[in-house]
């Protein structure tokens, strides 16, 4: 009796085992597991309130790539945030959206967003989940309203079922649209560059002499603002740029109304910076070297100028080359080519 049961049970178990294994490997590319890398600070975003699940992530991905979010169906999030440039609007000084209208600012890179204390160049947006409201409602970006997006999604093919899978309820609400997009974007994590491997003493992390010299210069001149491991301290600083007379963008001051915040912009992370040209809040420089030339020779004095730039920063041409070589080690191919973040049209 016992042997007979086993005889049936064994192949069955083996079959199930193989099935589970194959399912497992199938799912590999769809794993959504948020990671807090060793030694990194605690994320600011409260993941426990919106834990990414496969279905929430996939819904967020669909929304990110779907121009349905814009009033005339022309512009998606991905129009201005392409993966291979670390999700910025590559080659566009001022990002443009619907009808080709130009915005006021250069697009930002998107990764490690769970650590952001605030969003946008002026920090005006206070939580990852409400950030998409910015582009959705901006007349020069998507020019829509959240009410309208909810209505459109409600009648669009396939969305109700996806909301059901993601939230256990097919009701589409503004809250769920925003939570789903956050489940997708919070998974953009970048922590596997050559620099990271160097710090973790892993294979692939061997730095050249030149890169190491660049790192040394970086820690001396730059790390107070572009702080490791995230390469930003999330503060707002005035780096002595001339005010663009047409845009008249005074940055952080528009949010706080505090004259001490005049001309201050968010310190951007320098991870993947080699991929994300053009640079600065208005995209005025095409190369990292131009940024460095500004730091050494172009600083314009003003009352709110960062203390680091009050006396001249001295870097030789060779120093700049070495710094740039170091910054290139911050490019993270695992992130830039992660197939989970592509448009799956699923």
């Amino acid at each position: 009796m016992r042997i007979r049961t086993l005889k049936y049970l064994l192949p069955l178990l083996a079959g199930m085992f193989i099935l589970v294994l194959s399912l497992g490997s199938d799912k590999k590319e769809e794993e959504v597991q948020f990671v807090r890398p060793k030694g990194w600070p605690k994320p600011v975003y409260d993941l426990s309130k919106n834990k990414p699940t496969i279905n929430g992530f996939k819904l967020g991905r669909k929304l990110f790539f779907d121009p349905i979010l814009s009033r005339d169906g022309s512009t998606s999030c991905a129009s201005c945030h392409t993966q291979w440039s670390a999700f910025t609007h590559v080659d566009h000084g001022l990002s443009h959206g619907i009808n080709g209208l130009k915005g006021k600012r250069n697009s930002l890179t998107l990764f490690n967003l769970a650590w952001n204390k605030s969003f946008m160049w002026d920090g005006g947006i206070n939580n990852l989940e409400v950030q998409p409201l910015g582009p959705i409602t901006n007349p020069v970006e998507m020019d829509n309203t959240l009410e309208n997006v909810v209505k459109k999604l409600d009648t669009a093919k396939g969305y109700r079922a996806r909301f059901f899978l993601a939230f256990g309820d097919s009701g589409i609400t503004g809250q769920r649209v925003l939570k789903a997009i956050a489940q997708f974007t919070v998974m953009f994590e970048s922590f596997n560059s050559k620099y990271d491997k160097y710090v973790r003493e892993e294979p692939g992390g061997e730095m050249t002499e030149q890169e190491l010299h660049g790192l040394k210069l970086f820690r001396k001149n730059c790390a107070s603002c572009h702080k490791e491991p995230l390469f930003t301290n999330y503060a707002f600083e005035n780096v002595g740029l001339a005010v663009d007379t047409e845009l008249k963008d005074y940055g952080r001051m528009a949010i706080t109304h505090d004259p001490d915040d005049s001309l201050k912009f968010k310190v951007p992370s320098l991870r993947n910076v080699a991929m994300s040209y053009p640079y600065l809040h208005d995209g005025r420089f095409r190369t990292i070297r131009q940024v460095l030339d500004h730091y050494t020779d172009g600083i314009i004095q003003s009352p709110t100028l960062a203390k680091e730039f009050r006396k001249p920063m001295i870097l030789t041409d060779q120093d700049k080359t070495d710094l740039i070589e170091f910054l290139k080690t911050l490019s993270d191919k695992d992130f830039l080519f992660d197939i989970r973040f592509r448009d799956w049209r699923d």
């Binding site: 990852l128 409400v130 309203t145 009410e147 809250q175 939570k179 956050a182 949010i255």
Partner: protein
């Protein structure tokens, strides 16, 4: 109304007597009732009519009201021994009667002498991302470029406003000190709110739009406030005074 609540009590009384017979062993919370708070939008005490009803504000300008909405958060009543509350944020819209009714259930019978709530949304909720229900950003009470809830909105028009369509708009919000526009309101109760076992006690409040124009607010000078700041704070101080018991 008195008669009605008497009837309710009578039925509840019967139920209480019969209940033990029909359901052995089930516990019934004794000595509890509930409270319904209803907020009526008014102008100078009279029921508010939108759009084509003409009103005169403190400054003496003739005005029309087109939109009136505000959040009420954490409504609570206290007796000597206890406090009951409804911690949810509700969006009251003058054009939607149902939005102005609140229920606080499971209230210990007693005599409640204080009624408090916040007009607006607390600062934690302002930074906690995409909320649902009445706090869903799709409700149009959320600022996009400088995140945070619009605590209260009043829109209308007046000949004295030299603006497009003579419109005035007050979108009042801000949660970061010193420009926090949420206001804690203590409503003066002329007599205590008495809650009896098994009974619903109704409390009716007036929300008087005229209060927004206190301090001789001059619409020809101040007719658009749509960001946090000093002006928003002045108007928030005004709307904090708009509530009274009927």
């Amino acid at each position: 109304m008195k008669l009605q609540s008497f009837k309710v009590c009578y039925i509840v009384f019967l139920v209480l007597i019969l209940a033990p017979v029909s359901s052995f062993g089930k516990t019934i919370p004794l000595n509890r009732g509930w409270i319904t708070v209803i907020i009526d939008p008014v102008f100078n005490g009279e029921p508010l009519k939108m759009a084509d009803q003409l009103y005169v504000n403190e400054h003496g300008d003739t005005i029309y009201i087109d939109l009136f909405r505000f959040y009420i958060t954490n409504m609570r009543l206290s007796s000597e021994s206890t406090t009951v509350s409804d911690t949810v944020s509700h969006l009251v819209d003058a054009e939607d009667e149902a939005s102005a009714t609140f229920h606080i259930n499971n209230v210990p019978a007693g005599s409640y002498t204080s009624l408090q709530f916040t007009v607006g949304v607390d600062s934690i909720t302002n930074t906690s991302g995409a909320n649902g229900g009445d706090l869903d950003p799709a409700k149009g009470m959320y600022w996009v470029w400088n995140s945070g809830y619009i605590m209260a909105k009043l829109e209308g028009h007046s000949r004295v406003c030299k603006t497009l369509h003579h419109a005035f708009e007050f979108h009042i919000g801000g949660y970061m000190p010193p420009f926090n526009a949420a206001r804690l309101v203590n409503v003066k109760l002329s007599h205590p709110v008495v809650v009896l076992n098994g009974c619903n006690t109704i409390v009716r409040l007036k929300a008087d739009v005229a209060a927004w124009f206190k301090g001789n607010l001059d619409l020809s000078k101040l007719n658009s406030v749509v960001i946090p700041g000093k002006e928003a704070n002045i108007i928030a101080d005004n709307y904090a005074q708009m509530f009274s018991v009927e």
